[in-house]
């Protein structure tokens, strides 16, 4: 067990493949985090996380305070949603989603009253005296999800101690996506609070050892975090080589430990839980100040943005408001993206609200996107060299294209992390990730269909068994009655005979 449980990290391990995109971070890296002015309206979607959508707890017309619960989490994997500011609920309905489809989703619309008045907060006196389970409960109640973009409910990850033997908390400060600088700024400007949050998380997880990994293109963040962590010998800040996708948690853990996370498993399988620094800061705010997650820091950048910035934005603020604060577009952007350019999603327009998982809004020019017509594969194997997961993207794409889903699955479709390294290097501009997303979708559909079929089959079989049991019971009952009747008859006859004899 445990490279990390006993040893400091003295050596890093090489990951397979990867690419070196231009990081383009200088556009926004020197912009200190600013608060976005209060927008006129907030559109707060009820699903800003992986799992079940939250259920509204307010009605149209209600007046709410900042931090008040707007919608309750539903089920094991879910997260509640809170009011980002004080104001009036002017709508509980539908609004275009923060998603490429632009489909309408359940959304609560809030009209700020401008007072930004907090609800009564009741933080614990000292989080380190709480039961670790209580910390997870409070993190869940604060609506905190993975702010690196994955948006997995953080409390579920903090509870992993119940099922796994953990030894290390790794903080993923790689921020390997080009353009994004929000974690960089956050670690520079809020290093002490972030470290505090990290320590609370480690306490909740029951681990002693903490490793903070930061890519070497962020020396200021490394220095700030080191400085803030000097008092804690169990915290180690490690400089990571610049190589995309260093921020993929499984690859980050491999870089630090040399160990691969088993396929279909979690890093917890090798005793490690990974969290993002912004999540740690949110945990700190929840446990020290009792504040739920109502805002987040994001990078607004790209060649088409007039003044790239790092902004703290209330959740539910329209993308348009964020862009307006950055003085709009230089040129009409070719693509508007939520997240980084390697794994981010296209936004349909600027009306959509910002959400918990949105770490960046990028407006990219034609030159930056370098879109090009797809041409046939020349089997150059650049994608094979770039794939950090050891897959054969060219063969997977060929099979996906031919509709040969079984072959794609066998080639490791579900081991693909959709990092985009293959598409990035492909000289034929084949949209490999798009093929894989399509295949993953088809596979999910097929599994759903199969599940439905199995369920139907099970129900039919159950019904048949039930009917048969009923039939059998009926028969038995009839037979028993017959027997009873016969016995009665016999008894009566015997009685008669007796009487006659008498």
């Amino acid at each position: 067990m445990g490279y990390l449980s006993t040893h400091k990290i003295t050596k890093l391990f090489r990951i397979r493949g990867g690419v070196h995109p231009h990081d383009c971070k200088t556009l926004s890296a020197n912009q200190a985090i600013e608060d976005l002015p209060m927008p006129a309206l907030l559109h707060i979607p009820l699903q800003q996380h992986i799992g079940a959508a939250a259920k509204p707890a307010v009605q149209r017309g209600d007046h709410v305070l900042k931090g008040q619960l707007l919608a309750n989490s539903q089920g094991m994997i879910s997260a509640p949603v809170h009011a980002p500011t004080s104001g009036r609920v002017v709508g509980v309905g539908h609004y275009p989603a923060h998603h490429a489809s632009g489909l309408s989703v359940h959304t609560i619309t809030l009209q700020p009253d401008g007072k930004d008045e907090w609800i009564a907060l009741n933080p614990p006196a000292d989080p380190f005296t709480l039961d670790p389970a209580e910390i997870a409960t409070r993190v869940a109640a604060a609506g905190i999800v993975g702010l690196g973009g994955a948006t997995f409910p953080s409390a579920v990850k903090l509870n992993l101690r119940n099922r796994y033997k953990l030894h290390t908390l790794v903080i993923n400060g790689a921020e390997c996506e080009p353009y994004l600088t929000c974690d960089d700024r956050l670690m520079r400007e809020y290093s002490a609070n972030t470290i505090d949050g990290i320590r609370i998380m480690a306490y909740a997880l029951g681990v002693e050892n903490i490793v903070i990994g930061i890519e070497n293109n962020k020396p200021e963040a490394q220095a700030a975090m080191r400085e803030a962590a000097t008092a804690f010998p169990n915290i180690q800040v490690v400089g990571l080589p610049m190589r995309y996708p260093m921020g993929s948690e499984k690859h980050l853990v491999q870089t630090l430990t040399g160990k691969e996370t088993p396929a279909r498993g979690l890093t917890a399988d090798i005793g490690i839980v990974v969290h993002n620094p912004a999540t740690a800061l949110a945990v700190r705010d929840a446990l020290r100040e009792g504040k739920p997650l109502v805002s987040r820091v994001m990078t607004v950048s790209g060649g088409a943005i007039h003044k790239p910035r790092n902004l703290r934005v209330l959740l539910g603020t329209k993308v348009q408001d964020v862009i307006d604060y950055c003085e709009g577009f230089n040129v009409e952007p070719t693509r508007l993206i939520s997240g980084g350019p390697m794994m981010g999603n296209v936004l349909p327009d600027t009306r959509v609200p910002t959400v918990k998982g949105c770490n960046g809004i990028l407006a990219l020019t034609t030159k930056e996107v370098s879109e090009n017509q797809e041409s046939p594969c020349i089997r150059c194997a650049s994608c094979v060299q770039a794939c950090p997961c050891g897959l054969l993207p060219l063969e997977m794409a060929a099979n996906a294209r031919a509709g040969n889903l079984d072959a794609v699955t066998k080639l490791g479709l579900m081991d693909c992390i959709a990092c985009g390294s293959c598409s990035y290097v492909c000289p034929a501009h084949i949209p490999l990730v798009q093929y894989f997303n399509y295949a993953k979708g088809e596979l999910a559909n097929r599994q759903r269909a199969k599940h439905k079929q199995d369920e139907t089959k099970r129900l039919i079989e159950q019904r048949a068994a039930r009917m048969e049991a009923l039939e059998r019971a009926k028969k038995e009952m009839m037979e028993r009655r017959k027997r009873e009747a016969a016995a009665k008859k016999a008894a009566a006859a015997a009685k008669q005979a007796q009487e006659a004899n008498a």
């Binding site: 390697m342 370098s370 090009n372 054969l392 290097v425």
Partner: protein
């Protein structure tokens, strides 16, 4: 707004650029060859390349594919270029034309065009020409215009007749002549130094990886070294195999052809070793002293099989594809 998938940025690599880098890498050896062999070589080179473009245009037209998109993607020019490099510089013009049509139509377009061909088109054409026109395809001139056999051909003929290598010493070029390219041979294969330079350039530009050249040359030299040590009078040494014939052209430019070589690093090592082995066997014991084209084509045929059996290990899985299991490891 269409549903565009990530990533939203690109390295800037393109098929055209890839082909361009390969041509640039070939340029020094080519220019040297053209200078060495003069006008006949220059005209043969131009005829071959232009015929390839013509054949490509005709094929695209017939297949109803957009000519503008495909004709100048560089692949047809490169095929013509490599074919010209592998022809005897004194070959008649129609060899170039016929070779070009064989390469583009039989070698490439019948398979479905760029990226679809199983065999290296230039080598398909070269072998077809060699078998059909053995005289034209084996008439070599040296730099000074005297006709004669290539060093490998000479050795093969003489040792075949029972002569020892030491008795040939006077009639063989020196190592420095072979290195620089002052010998007979195909137009582009003669200058080992310039080919090596081009190969290193391709490695530097990440167009090819080291696997095929290293395993191919390594295998060839290993065999040459062993056989030479066993019987130095019959089997020429490593320097002859490295510098004469198409070894370097083959190792850096022909065997590494992207379309027809395996995609995984292990597969490439196997492929290269196979090429090296076959080159040695064909040069030493088969009927053709210049065995590169045959060796590469035979290994091309095995590429799908190699690709099937030599896949990279998937992250988080063992070689068999099962998820890693640390628990069982610790239990042992």
């Amino acid at each position: 707004m269409s549903m565009i998938s990530s990533p939203h940025t690109h390295s800037g690599k393109s098929v055209q650029l890839t082909m361009l880098w390969v041509m640039l890498a070939l340029a020094p050896a080519t220019v040297f060859g053209l200078y060495l062999f003069g006008w006949p070589a220059i005209s043969l080179f131009l005829i071959t390349v232009l015929s390839c473009l013509l054949a490509e245009a005709i094929a695209l037209k017939i297949m109803g594919k957009p000519i503008g998109k495909y004709l100048f993607d560089g692949s047809a020019i490169l095929t013509g270029w490599l074919l010209a490099m592998s022809l005897p510089p004194s070959a008649p013009w129609w060899i170039g034309v016929l070779g070009a049509f064989l390469a583009i139509i039989v070698g490439k377009q019948v398979f479905g065009g760029i990226g679809q061909n199983l065999f290296n088109p230039a080598m398909v054409a070269r072998v077809a020409l060699l078998i059909s026109f053995p005289l034209e395809m084996t008439t070599w001139v040296t730099a000074d215009g005297v006709s004669g056999a290539t060093p490998l051909g000479h050795i093969r003929t003489e040792t075949g007749q029972g002569h020892t290598l030491s008795s040939l010493a006077d009639s063989l070029p020196s190592v420095s002549d072979m290195g620089l390219g002052m010998i007979g041979g195909s137009m582009g294969e003669t200058s080992a130094v310039l080919l090596l330079l081009g190969g290193l350039f391709l490695l530097w530009k990440h167009i090819i990886t080291w696997h095929i050249p290293v395993s191919m040359i390594g295998t060839l030299l290993l065999l040459a070294g062993i056989m030479h040590a066993i019987s130095p009078e019959v089997y020429p040494g490593m320097e002859v195999h490295l510098l004469a014939g198409a070894t370097l052209l083959g190792a850096f430019f022909i065997a590494t052809d992207l379309v027809t070589s395996p995609v995984s690093p292990t597969g490439q090592l196997v492929f290269g070793a196979g090429c090296g082995l076959l080159v040695y066997v064909i040069r030493t014991w088969a009927g053709y002293p210049e065995g590169m084209a045959f060796a590469v084509l035979l290994m091309n045929a095995l590429t799908p099989l190699i690709d099937h059996y030599f896949r990279p290990r998937i992250y988080g899985r063992d070689r068999k594809g099962e998820p890693l299991n640390y628990a069982s490891e610790e239990g042992k």
